[in-house]
């Protein structure tokens, strides 16, 4: 596919690197995905632009999921996750809102819709919101989430994962995804991770563990970079 530059900063997604639906054992992927293929449209200004500063509305500043209040520390393995939000050129995306949510160490969400018979942790809510810095870096403390079985799916267990939502500089660069952990045996069997037809795309969702001797603190550390669609993270002013 050809890229023109500018104004064609947004190429279509490579379909082989994006999830294919429906997914066996996940009824909502049948009920909620259109039967009609999506209609090609010109990318006009509405699609190319987006909210540049959502922080007054979404109020980031909650990047420690592991400590709910002084002295109230979540159960589980303390971890630090950091990385960069990049555009397709490898430029950092500054000022992007990063939203996070995850299960507790027992694999249960602090959410009334999660009625599974696993313990809640009174010291863990498991969601947060932060902002990337000038270089596009983000970081958060949390605990390693537990695995959990998907109801009525025939013994499908979700591997440990963190849900991540990124609101970048354009509506076309919007991304919601999940971060997985390298080396988890359940990764090989996860139907969401394996819904990416191109096997080479799957490892890009895996966080890499930083060797403990390189970590200056008593936590396990992971590194994961996120690439948003689009070139020129911050378009130049006309």
């Amino acid at each position: 596919m050809t890229r023109r530059d500018p104004p064609d900063l947004f190429a279509p997604y490579d379909e082989s690197a994006q999830p294919a639906v429906p997914i066996e054992g996940y009824a909502n992927t049948f009920r909620r995905n259109p039967a009609r293929p999506p209609i090609p449209r010109p990318y006009t200004r509405t699609a190319r632009t987006g909210p540049l500063d959502l922080s007054p509305k979404l109020k980031p500043g909650d990047d420690n999921l592991a400590v709910i209040a002084p002295g109230r520390i979540a159960l589980g393995q303390l971890i630090h996750v950091s990385g960069r939000v990049l555009d397709e050129d490898g430029r950092g995306v500054p000022g992007a809102v990063v939203e996070l949510w995850q299960a507790n160490a027992a694999g249960r969400y602090f959410n009334p819709l999660d009625t599974r018979d696993a313990p809640l942790d009174p010291n863990f809510v498991g969601n947060g919101r932060t902002l990337t810095d000038r270089e596009g870096r983000y970081a958060f403390f949390t605990i390693k989430p537990g695995a959990y079985p998907v109801p009525d799916s025939g013994r499908w267990w979700r591997p440990p994962h963190v849900h991540v939502s990124i609101l970048g500089p354009s509506t076309l660069s919007r991304l919601v995804t999940q971060m997985y952990f390298s080396g988890e045996p359940l990764n090989a069997h996860d139907r969401l991770l394996n819904s990416l037809p191109d096997a080479a795309a799957r490892p890009r969702l895996l966080a890499r563990q930083i060797p403990p001797q390189e970590v200056e603190g008593e936590w396990l550390a992971f590194s994961w970079d996120i690439v948003l669609r689009g070139r020129h993270a911050t378009p130049p002013a006309p």
Binding site: P7, Y13, D14, Q18, P19, I23, A27, N28, T29, F30, R31, R32, N33, P34, A35, R36, P38, I39, P40, R41, P42, T44, R45, T46, T49, G50, P51, L52, L54, K57, L58, D87, E88, D89, G90, R91, W101, A103, Y109, D114, V125, N127, H163, S170, T171, L172, L175, T177, Q178, L192, A201, R202, R204, L205, I226, V227, L228, R229, P235, P238
Partner: protein
């Protein structure tokens, strides 16, 4: 590891899953007329309500769907440098809001009637772009809402013209009376259904 100017493949999408935190939603998130819940509403343009239901296969309500709206200000400008008129864009208008659906699949936005604008692809009619996220939607679904006030502009709109003619009416909101002293418009989304009823969605 990362070479500048070497295009990187974008990270894959995944669904929000069933447990997107309700606590992420705050008062005013679905109100596009103000920059934040504390800010005064913009004085420019006609304030309107845009509301409807999100339905899944069989017409059942799609509960806990997240809708994200993005649109131009009342004069058709975006506060974004890709808009040549961005410095004149309404400083009190963010253009972005987020709503979530209740047990009936219902959502509601308060916003400003957007302005149309000239785009290299053609003259854009007033419109609101909507993205739908929900459990089971592995990649957001994107569509565009048009308004019945502007039949001629709608006819010329390059995005609406990309939709097969017989389906275009599905993307035009319907007048829905008045609420809170504002004109209301109704726009229902059917995520999966009969070919003549399923909401047209666009390539993202």
């Amino acid at each position: 590891m990362i070479r500048p100017n070497a295009p990187l493949p974008p990270t894959a999408w995944h669904t929000i899953g069933p447990f997107f935190p309700r606590t992420f939603f705050r008062e005013g998130d679905n109100d596009l007329t103000r920059l934040s819940a504390e800010a005064a509403p913009t004085a420019r343009g006609e304030h309107i309500l845009l509301r409807g239901r999100v339905l899944e296969e069989g017409g059942r309500p799609c509960v806990n769907a997240v809708l994200e709206a993005w649109q131009a200000d009342a004069a058709g400008r975006f506060r974004h440098p890709l808009d040549p008129g961005w410095r004149e864009a309404d400083p009190d208008f963010l253009g972005w809001g987020r709503a979530w659906t209740d047990a009936e699949g219902a959502y509601s936005f308060r916003t400003v009637m957007p302005g149309g604008y000239a785009d290299p692809a053609g003259p854009r009619a007033p419109h609101v772009d909507l993205a739908v996220l929900a459990s089971g939607i592995m990649r957001r679904l994107v569509t565009t809402v048009f308004f019945p006030d502007f039949p001629d502009a709608n006819e010329a709109d390059p995005v609406l013209r990309a939709v097969p003619e017989g389906l275009r009416h599905l993307l035009v909101a319907r007048p829905d009376g008045r609420s809170e002293g504002l004109r209301a418009f109704r726009f229902d989304l059917l995520l999966r259904g009969a070919p003549d009823a399923e909401t047209p969605f666009f390539v993202d």
